[in-house]
């Protein structure tokens, strides 16, 4: 389980996060949603340690991550898998080498074991036989799947996903969402997804927190959203005429 306690983050005079307290449970697809500039990605980066919170704490399974030094954090980070918005694959390496990269650094597996594991992960994301390609030869959706394969190569306890559907067509977006949901169940990971995509919200949102102006404005499940009377949440989720019409039918 991951907990954030009163997390504040300030850049210069701009206070981006204003006391976020929440918890993300294992085996659940936890979604962070909100408008542009609401602080979603900043919160995610504070949780994984790419940004240091100005104040507040991030706790991974009762261990205070915020108070840890670099070396102590490495122990937790070995259990973290993350898919970045632009996939962040290493351009100079093949797909297979990208997936094997954490295994090379942090395991004592033999080369054949590492290859087997990489191929298993690639097969798991439906990219069997694509290991020798380079990231520049892949489509956006394939890059995301390689990013997921790399994130799960070390069998993570915590899976973080930043905007998994940005730049993807609706069908590929659904496939990525389904993959995230399957992996969460399969590995019982604590999965945290930052997204704008309403299909994801309604499809896989076991636990959703809505950020507005850097504050936690609403918290619930995808089933709760349809019946919420929170004005800002409704303005965000049901912004389009189509979604408004869909809500009326619920």
């Amino acid at each position: 389980m991951i907990e954030t306690q009163e997390v504040y983050k300030t850049f210069g005079d701009n206070q981006v996060l204003k006391g976020i307290t929440t918890e993300f449970k294992p085996g659940k697809k936890n979604l962070i949603i909100g408008g542009s500039g609401s602080g979603k990605t900043t919160l995610l980066k504070c949780i994984v340690g790419l940004h240091e919170p100005t104040s507040g704490e991030v706790i991974f399974d009762s261990e205070n991550f915020t108070a840890m030094h670099f070396k102590e954090r490495v122990k937790i980070r070995k259990h973290i898998g993350m898919l970045f918005q632009n996939s962040a694959l290493f351009d100079s390496m093949s797909v297979e080498a990208n997936v094997m990269f954490p295994l090379n650094l942090f395991t004592d597996m033999s080369k054949s074991e590492k290859l087997d594991r990489a191929n298993f992960c690639l097969e798991r994301v439906d990219l069997k036989g694509k290991g020798k390609l380079h990231p520049s030869e892949l489509s956006g959706g394939m890059k995301k799947r390689v990013g997921i394969a790399r994130a799960i190569s070390m069998q993570p306890k915590y899976l973080f996903v930043d905007e998994p559907n940005s730049g993807l067509d609706p069908l590929t977006s659904i496939l990525i969402d389904e993959l995230i949901a399957e992996l969460t169940e399969e590995y019982n990971t604590t999965t945290v997804v930052v997204t704008h995509d309403m299909n994801s919200v309604m499809g896989i949102g076991d636990h959703i927190i809505f950020l507005h102006n850097g504050q936690k404005w609403w918290e619930g499940t995808n089933k709760d959203i349809a019946h919420s009377d929170n004005k800002e949440l409704n303005n965000f989720v049901f912004a389009s005429p189509f979604m408004k019409a869909a809500r009326e039918k619920l």
Binding site: L50, K78, N104, F106
Partner: protein
């Protein structure tokens, strides 16, 4: 300026932390050595031959006198090539070739979140990205400078053979007359220091890039400009203190 200097020193300290796995870092060092060493051989060979030839022709032109033995041309060409032309001009050229590549490579990794991905995995990103480049720089740039010296002096020989202002035998005699081994030491020290400057400054500029493609280009430009200035400054300090 002090803020940047402090960040630069801290980054260097982080770069030389104990590696997570030595074999992975060693592979990176080898890859960088090939990229920096073999990849720069062509340009270094071309400029060295021309610099040696031009140095010989110009020295011969300035020393046209019956009072000065022709062998002096070889001696002056040797000293200026070993002390200044090979290490400094090679370093300035390599700052453009290697330095811009390092700054833009690391800068692109920064803006495309590849460095964030390394950090999330628990990898010491400065160590993985920067230390192999610095190690490669301080080993391969001296090797390139040695090759440059040999080719520069060969260029001088070819110029003598082609122009007949100085005979090749006089030139060869001049190369060995009054040789002081200290100049080789100075040349080696310069090459190592310049290798460190190019790799560390350009890596620093790339590592702290933020923004997008425009900023990556600006980081590469800054890396090359600061490296060139620091190379010339270090050249002065080393020459003053060792000669």
């Amino acid at each position: 300026m002090f803020h940047s200097l402090g960040r630069y020193i801290l980054l260097l300290r982080l770069s030389f932390r104990k590696p997570e796995k030595f074999s992975v870092y060693w592979a990176e060092v080898m890859r960088e050595m090939v990229s920096e060493g073999i990849g720069s051989l062509g340009i270094i060979a071309i400029i060295s031959v021309f610099i040696g030839a031009v140095a010989t022709i110009q020295t011969a032109f300035q020393l046209v006198s019956d009072l000065i033995p022709k062998t002096v041309v070889g001696g002056i060409t040797r000293d200026s090539t070993i002390l200044e032309f090979s290490p400094t001009i090679c370093a300035l050229v390599l700052a453009g070739r290697i330095g811009s590549s390092i700054a833009s490579q690391i800068g692109t990794m920064r803006v495309t979140e590849q460095i964030d991905a390394l950090e999330i995995m628990g990898v010491n990103a400065p160590g993985y990205l920067i230390s192999p480049k610095i190690i490669s720089g301080v080993t391969m740039i001296p090797v390139l400078v040695v090759i440059s010296v040999v080719l520069g002096l060969s260029g001088g020989y070819l110029a003598c053979a082609a122009s007949r202002d100085v005979s090749t035998s006089d030139y060869l005699a001049g190369l060995t007359d009054g040789f002081n081994p200290l100049i080789v030491t100075v040349c080696g020290v310069k090459a190592i220091v310049f290798g460190f400057i190019i790799n560390s400054i350009c890596a620093y500029q790339g590592y702290y890039t933020s923004g997008g493609a425009l900023e990556v280009g600006q980081a590469a430009t800054r890396g090359v400009v600061f490296s060139c200035i620091m190379i010339l400054f270090a050249d002065l300090v080393i020459s003053r203190s060792l000669l």
